[in-house]
Symmetry: C3
Subunit: 269 residues, 3 copies
């Protein structure tokens, strides 16, 4: 990003070492700038359980036969576009080819235009520990080390790294309130956690803003393997079991409508 | 388009104000030229009812839980390519970012190469009223005003605008004959109508060539919401209920094979 | 390709006569070089029978109502990317627009990065007969002459061309061993065969490395029409019935895990 010598947020063309050219959004201002959008996780249909559009889990219905689901967290398949990152799943070549040290995450309400992402986001944070240095330099490599695959390990022994976060918008309390009261009672805010595993050995990719302290991780961690045994396929999907006690109710294990109807944007720096 | 100072139909690279570059087909000759292809609605499987490939309605099976379906009419998600616009659904960044005054529509038989679209099209028309001036300058904005969503209004009170058309190929009678006799008895040719609603409160995006005069709009209007209550999901799909009395039979409410097996290409100027 | 005056394998930007720009992998060294990757056939879920991701057969579930399936073998729809060609189906504009004489095929284990395709491929071969001269210059045109459509002909009368191959990696025996013993007993290695038809009149696109001598072609020939009548939809999918006697068992009619978990890359020259 440095070569652009610019401080404006917006769309830029980038290219990978092997010559793949792609266009994405860069945040040139937060905490020094230089953040490249590499992916978004968007729930197109909370009622669809591992159906079309669940590219960060599985589009195959939820089955032990496809333990890794669509495999998007650790392959080179790309999809979507930066401009539609709050209306559809998005993944560009930077996701697997950038060399980065930290991540930032924005939760932006669905169907927002690029110009209003920053203002409308209700949770934004980033890491400062350079944790990606230990994981191959990006999430593609991290998830090679910690596969998002059913039955690859158990809880809590095989949970991946929990990294402390610095808030840019929101705070520990507002983050916690996005999830149901049972999640609040069984997690610690102020972290981003990778590759959670639940009681039934389903794997999830990212627990945004929290470190789970129990094994019911499917109510706060999103993106997942192709099979979730508990009442299958009810927890299978890009937003897993965030609707377990009703869509957007924010009671028991259910998340709020605010986070359910927002895309999670992932940046590298 | 003007900057190209050219009068040849064909593929051009364009870019949006925010810098998105896309390639599409331009018609540089009809009625003064300057028409940019922004979308095509293609029925990949008339027997599939809101299944994979129904990007202008829903790929989620037809359900009241997804009233807006895939939301393509009023979001920034793009898909397909200009060269495949008669073999697959197509939508580019111009659809939501061009500032236009009028639309043109071509009905081109499926699987035609770009070079033969103009000759093989059996219905082509355009508007001349500058109606998009009142609707935000393109269909993305028009469908923000008139959402293609189940249960958002009722018929006939909430039907969107019907705009008179000028024929480039075909005429009022040939247009009418593309639809079933019951549609002919309940519509007026010579118009393009936006956001029709049917008796059961399902919404449709475009009635090509006609203004419905009843509320059985699912037999002439295409692209739609995610739920069609009547005998659900039989009317759900990119080409709605054009096969209601048999595929391509052109009896009762069924459309002709000619229009069922053709893509609807949408241009802006 | 010649204009690049280069002998390095890797990604290149190419453009079609009509101006479509695309990026793909070129093999500049095998047998004189100049091979352009135009497609890959990847099985995302051997247990999914004509479900999402079966772009070279059908994503519509397997039904006589969609005899041509998704139609990818003879239309201009493109999908995927070169870098993900071993993790997803891939098809670029070169597939339908290059003028070529021969094909090369590589079988590369799934989820391999571009740099390691050549080393990890376990079967690589090419034709030298210039057979595409008689078929319109590429597979798009060949499959217009020999449609991959259910019920378009019968076996053995309407089988398409079998072209002798020259091995770059592997040989007749290693090729044969990739398929089940019943396939070995009913096919001749050393050929690539196009548009096979089986006993039930389902059509397949490519029998890689073999010429079938019976009509149970669904156990060695891949990519296919939208309907496979025998025990429907069990043979429907990008890799047809390669799992007929168990996934990867390599007994009776089942193929080996090696070929089942590898993508078939198709090159032109």
């Amino acid at each position: 990003m440095e070569k652009y010598k610019t401080s404006e947020d917006g769309l830029y063309f980038l290219s990978t070492p092997s010559g793949v050219v792609y266009q994405t959004y860069c945040d040139m201002t937060t905490a020094g700038g230089g953040w490249t959008l590499v992916a978004s996780v968007h729930e197109n249909n909370m009622h669809g359980k591992c159906t079309t559009g669940d590219r960060w889990s599985s589009q195959q219905g939820g089955s032990a036969n496809v333990p890794g689901g669509d495999g998007s967290w650790s392959n080179t398949v790309t999809f979507g576009s930066a401009e539609a990152a709050t209306s559809d799943d998005y993944k560009n070549a930077g996701y697997y080819d950038l060399e980065a040290k930290n991540v930032a995450v924005w939760h932006v309400p669905n169907d927002n235009r690029v110009e209003s992402w920053k203002q409308t986001s209700f949770l934004r944070y980033h890491t400062e520990t350079n944790f990606l240095n230990q994981s191959g330099g990006n999430l593609y490599h991290l998830f090679k080390l910690f596969p998002v695959t059913y039955n690859v390990g158990s809880c809590p022994a095989n949970t991946g790294p929990s990294v402390p976060i610095v808030y840019d918008v929101g705070n520990a309390e507002s983050t916690h309130n996005l999830y149901g009261p049972n999640v609040r009672a069984n997690s610690e805010p102020g972290f981003i956690t990778f590759r959670a595993i639940n009681s039934e050995k389903a794997a999830m990719a990212i627990c945004s803003g929290v470190k789970p302290t129990d094994c019911n991780t499917e109510h706060s961690c999103i993106g997942g393997s192709g099979h979730f045994p508990e009442d299958s396929p009810r927890q299978c999907g890009d937003f897993t079991g965030l609707d377990w006690n009703g869509y957007g109710t924010n009671i028991h294990w259910s998340a709020s409508k605010q986070i359910t109807e927002a895309a999670m944007l992932i940046f590298y720096r």
